[in-house]
């Protein structure tokens, strides 16, 4: 028989073992219970984010500028639901067959989106495909077929630069909290109004078991759709503007300007600074960015012509003679008279201090004779006539007057005036990537003389010649078409320099107005009623007087059969041509490629519109840009827009 201590020993050992188990049990269930509860709670739920429909964009009359967000049936992959093996062995090959996409592309997309991401893949699928997937879900683990919001731009290139486009978030967007699968505004309104357009994503929190099976919905937070933007654009005017610019490019080619690159235009409401139309041609189709992928070739082609840039606000152009209007207003407002050459003192009208005799050549310091664009000159002109005919000598002589009287006026009197009108800095429009432009002065000159020899004279100091250059819109002075429009608007509206706007209000998804733009001025200038009246008269003289540089371009402004002398509409239109020589920037030996300008105002009796047109490397302003502006003004004044025909070749 067995001595009973042996059983007792075994029993004691067993009891000790049980005590060890109990101690561990106590630790897990009492001491460490919080950790377990936390981990358990976290792994029993899964949260799926639901994309918020992006807001719509309308023109000022409520017409769609983009058709909003259309739900398209797409295959959606949720990588949280599947293992890597399932992805590799089952899902990717089957998806490749189903969607007719190479497996390598799917793999690349999976890698791009990251592990655990949920994202649509491939294009829109038909109902039968959707049904096939649902019936064979075993072959498509982690896949669902759902309506996915897709941004649709039915107007394709119309207003593309203002609307902009959306795309994958950049590093700054990611830092701001965007997820890699989001699409964020990259350009235009889509970018600058991202916070309104984006909306708030929704989320569904599911209760899941260990297999990832969904057992029920714990919480459902529907997405908040983005707000709708009501822009200041007029869709019809926008279309007229774009058509006109396209025709203008063709016209430039037709008259032999083969280097023409593009055209840009801004139409501003002078009463509140709202943008009625803004175009940069050639344009692009924003849907290329939001749907599918843009091919490398297409992207490179776009890059080469920079078509995705909005030259109406990003283009930096010397303004040429279109800047004379700015000088005109300064001279008129502050009675700055031209300096006549001694030889012509007898020829000028003594009763008119603005009288000036232009013989076409100006002797100035050590430089060769300065020539007016018109051989032989313009003869006897006053301030008004100097604008009509765009007499360079007149404005040089105004600059000389400023230089001579710099002790009283200040040597940068003209630059100050220009800056007050908004040149040299962003206008503050609600669009991204606006250019500053440049108004050069002595300080700038000295700072850049060493660094930018191509633009800035390498030797000598700031001098009268530099101010003369500015007075004719040349030299280092560069402006954007929008700045030009803002400045002209200020000159005719009584002095308000608007901060221009393309969006007037935002409505949320319940149609409540959640943002309204109140017209705000970036600044004001002092300009008298008399100055304005004279300026209007003389701007009309450019288009409607015998020697006006845009006379030819505006011929037959009214409908067929109405002579110009009886055309009331023509008396309501004024503007200024400009032909900016950019030879200097390209080096002395470069081709003589000019940028053509026309900036105009209508109706003169009660100014409402400013139209600024630039034909990049389009040649003479009177020849190409004025005809383009004429067509836009015809539309604005209720006349029938004519096809473009050439105007006068002026201001070389």
């Amino acid at each position: 028989m067995i001595a009973s201590w042996r059983q007792t020993t075994v029993g004691t050992l067993v009891t000790a073992m049980m005590v060890v188990l109990l101690l561990r049990l106590w630790y897990l269930q009492v001491t460490d219970v919080e950790d377990s509860l936390e981990v358990a709670a976290a792994q029993q739920i899964r949260t799926v984010s639901i994309e918020a429909p992006r807001g719509d964009i309308f023109d000022r009359d409520g017409r769609f500028l983009m058709a909003g967000t259309i739900a398209s049936m797409r295959v959606v992959v949720d990588r949280q639901l599947i293992s890597l093996e399932e992805e590799e062995s089952v899902l990717i090959p089957n998806l490749a067959t189903l969607l007719a996409i190479p497996a390598a592309e799917i793999v690349a997309e999976f890698e791009l989106r990251g592990s655990g991401a949920r994202f649509p893949i491939g294009g829109e699928v038909s109902n039968s495909t959707a049904l096939f997937v649902l019936e064979n879900i075993g072959h498509f683990p982690g896949v669902s077929v759902e309506p996915v919001p897709v941004r649709v731009y039915p107007l394709t290139e119309t207003a593309a630069h203002v609307i902009g486009y959306i795309g994958a978030p950049g590093s700054s967007d990611l830092e701001a909290g965007a997820s890699p699968s989001d699409r964020v505004g990259k350009f235009g309104i889509e970018r600058s109004y991202e916070e309104y357009l984006a909306g708030t994503p929704g989320a569904i929190t599911y209760r899941v078991n260990a297999h990832g099976d969904i057992l029920g919905v714990l919480e459902e937070r529907p997405p908040q759709p983005g707000g709708s933007l009501i822009t200041t654009l007029d869709l019809t005017l926008q279309r007229v503007t774009e058509e006109t610019l396209t025709q203008a490019i063709a016209l430039a080619r037709q008259v032999g300007e083969d280097e023409v690159i593009r055209a840009a235009a801004v139409i501003l409401d002078v009463t509140d600074g709202s943008v009625l139309a803004m175009a940069s041609v050639p344009a692009f189709d924003p849907s290329a960015f939001s749907t599918g992928r843009i091919s490398v070739d297409d992207w490179e082609a776009m890059q080469e012509k920079a078509v995705q840039n909005n030259f109406a606000i990003q283009g930096r152009y010397p303004p040429g003679s279109s800047f004379k209007t700015i000088v005109y207003a300064l001279a008129r407002q502050h009675s700055i008279a031209p300096v006549n050459e001694e030889e012509h003192e007898g020829r000028v009208d003594a009763s008119d201090p603005t009288s000036y005799f232009c013989d076409g050549q100006l002797e100035f310091e050590a430089t060769p004779l300065l020539n007016d664009w018109k051989p032989g000159g313009h003869g006897l002109v006053n301030l008004g006539q100097s604008l009509h005919q765009s007499c360079n000598l007149y404005y040089w002589s105004i600059a000389l007057r400023i230089w001579e009287q710099r002790a009283e006026l200040g040597e940068d009197r003209l630059q100050q005036w220009a800056r007050l009108l908004g040149f040299g800095s962003q206008t503050g429009i609600d669009l991204p990537f606006e250019a500053d432009g440049l108004v050069p002065d002595r300080t700038w000159f000295q700072r850049h003389q060493q660094q930018q020899t191509g633009v800035v004279r390498p030797e000598g100091g700031w001098a009268a010649g530099d101010v003369m250059n500015i007075a004719t819109g040349q030299g280092a002075l560069v402006v954007t078409p929008l700045q030009m429009a803002v400045a002209y608007a200020a000159l005719v509206n009584g002095g308000t320099v608007w901060e221009p706007r393309v969006v007037q209000s935002v409505r949320d998804s319940q149609n409540n107005v959640i943002y309204t733009h109140v017209a705000s001025a970036a600044g004001t200038i002092e300009i008298s009623e008399d100055t304005i009246a004279d300026l209007k008269r003389d701007l009309n003289g450019v288009v409607n007087s015998t020697f006006g540089t845009a006379r030819r371009a505006f011929e037959g402004f009214c409908d067929t059969g109405v002579p110009d002398s009886e055309c009331a509409a023509l008396r309501e239109v004024g503007g200024k041509t400009g032909t900016a020589e950019i030879r200097q920037a390209l080096g002395e030996d470069g081709p003589d490629i000019d940028t053509a300008w026309f900036v105009g105002v209508a109706p003169l009796s009660s100014p409402r519109y400013v139209v600024a047109v630039v034909i990049d490397q389009g040649g003479s302003g009177g020849l190409v840009a004025a005809p383009a502006a004429r067509r836009i003004f015809q539309y604005l004044m209720g006349e029938t827009p004519d096809p473009l025909r050439r105007g006068d070749d002026t201001e070389r």
Partner: protein, 388 residues
């Protein structure tokens, strides 16, 4: 004389009372096991559209078969068990051999089963009581004081045959049970402390050799490595044990209530109705419920050891002690595994884990102990002695 007296006792059913405490505990644990099996299997079965009661009903059938077997084995005297031990042992060896022939079937990468009517028979579960019986016969020689090294060698050889067959299935856990039972039975048979120490060191060396000679399957090794480095790979090797501990922890002091275990209902622990049934218990009934169950097991094992003390001869004593050791090891290794104290070895929890062969094996073992109890030595002052 004594022999006759005991025959008389057996022939008088009024005097041969079963061990009420032992059978009572087994009944309570079995009933609780059925409830827990339901709680651990119903949500998943419901989700796939099957009968949520399905697994519990199958276990109920196994329990019915087990109870029948328990009553049957209780009615066979310990002396009869001793006589048929060679037959039982040979039969079990044959069944074990059959599992590795085409007769056997493979489940989850292991060939442990023989299809047999309503259930697949897992001979290794029946091998446990058979080995205990055989060891008891071997360690009950006439006129030997202590246990000779020669006899220890014979015992090791006897266990090695079924252990090797089970190892080939492979079933590392069951092999460990045999080792533990052997050591406990050798100790009870009278080995000296020195012999025991040598045996334990030898056993450890065999374990090391098995690992070093690469005899373990990859998953077995991975479980041990994963156990030694917890958290190394939460989604694969250690997933079971991490989820098991979270689930147990989720129960807290009082438990989440029957059928209210979130982790259990969501099936986060694999094998939660079989090897990991303890997690379902601990989550739903908490520390208090789990403590009660562990206490029941402890009392059960003490009770079996008491039967060992009361048994009428050394054979019966060794059998009762061996069976007590078997249950103790199962409970300790199984619960220790769910608590993250021991590696995953796949030993089920007696009376509670889902599984037919295992329940049958444990029921037979309880029946044998009960038979030993009913045929125990006359106690001084017992009325049965007076009648002799």
């Amino acid at each position: 004389m004594t022999m006759l007296g005991r025959v008389d006792l057996r022939d008088d059913p009024r005097r041969a009372r079963p061990d009420v405490v032992m059978v009572g505990i087994v009944a309570v644990l079995t009933a609780l096991g059925l409830i827990l099996i339901y709680s651990a299997s119903a949500p998943r079965l419901r989700l796939v559209g099957d009968d949520p009661n399905g697994q519990m009903i199958r276990q109920l059938i196994f329990v019915a078969i087990g109870i029948a077997a328990m009553i049957g084995t209780s009615l066979i005297t310990d002396r009869s068990w001793r006589m048929v031990t060679p037959l039982i042992f040979a039969g079990v060896i044959l069944l074990l051999l059959a599992t590795i022939t085409p007769l056997g079937v493979e489940r989850q990468g292991a060939q442990r089963w023989i299809p047999f009517g309503v259930m697949d028979l897992q001979p290794s579960e029946l091998a446990k009581p058979a080995v205990i019986l055989a060891l008891a016969v071997l360690l009950t020689p006439e006129n030997e004081i202590g246990v000779s090294w020669r006899r220890i060698g014979k015992a090791a050889a006897l266990v090695a045959l079924p252990a090797a067959l089970i190892f080939m299935q492979p079933d590392f856990g069951t092999m460990l049970v045999f080792g533990f039972i052997t050591v406990v039975m050798l100790f009870m048979a009278g080995t000296t402390t020195r012999q025991l120490m040598i045996l334990l060191v030898g056993g450890l060396l065999v374990m090391v050799a098995i690992i070093e000679l690469d005899l373990l399957r990859d998953y077995q090794l991975a479980r041990i490595i994963g156990f030694l480095n917890p958290g190394s790979d939460p989604l694969s090797v250690n997933y079971n044990q991490i989820q098991s501990q979270i689930t147990i922890g989720n129960g807290g002091l009082f438990g989440s209530g029957l059928f209210q275990g979130a982790q259990t209902n969501l099936a986060f622990v694999p094998a939660q109705s079989t090897d990991f049934i303890f997690t379902a218990l601990a989550e739903q009934l908490g520390f208090l419920g789990a403590t009660v169950v562990l206490a029941l097991y402890t009392v059960l094992i003490w009770r079996m050891l008491a039967v060992s003390v009361a048994a009428r001869d050394k054979f019966a004593q060794l059998v009762a002690g061996g069976i007590a050791a078997m249950f103790a090891f199962h409970v300790f290794v199984n619960v220790g595994m769910t608590l993250g104290l021991l590696p995953v070895t796949g030993l089920p929890l007696p009376f509670m884990s889902f599984g037919g062969s295992f329940y049958l094996g444990t029921a037979v073992s309880v029946g044998i102990v009960n038979s030993i109890w009913m045929n125990r030595s006359p106690v001084p002052g017992d009325r049965r002695l007076a009648s002799l």
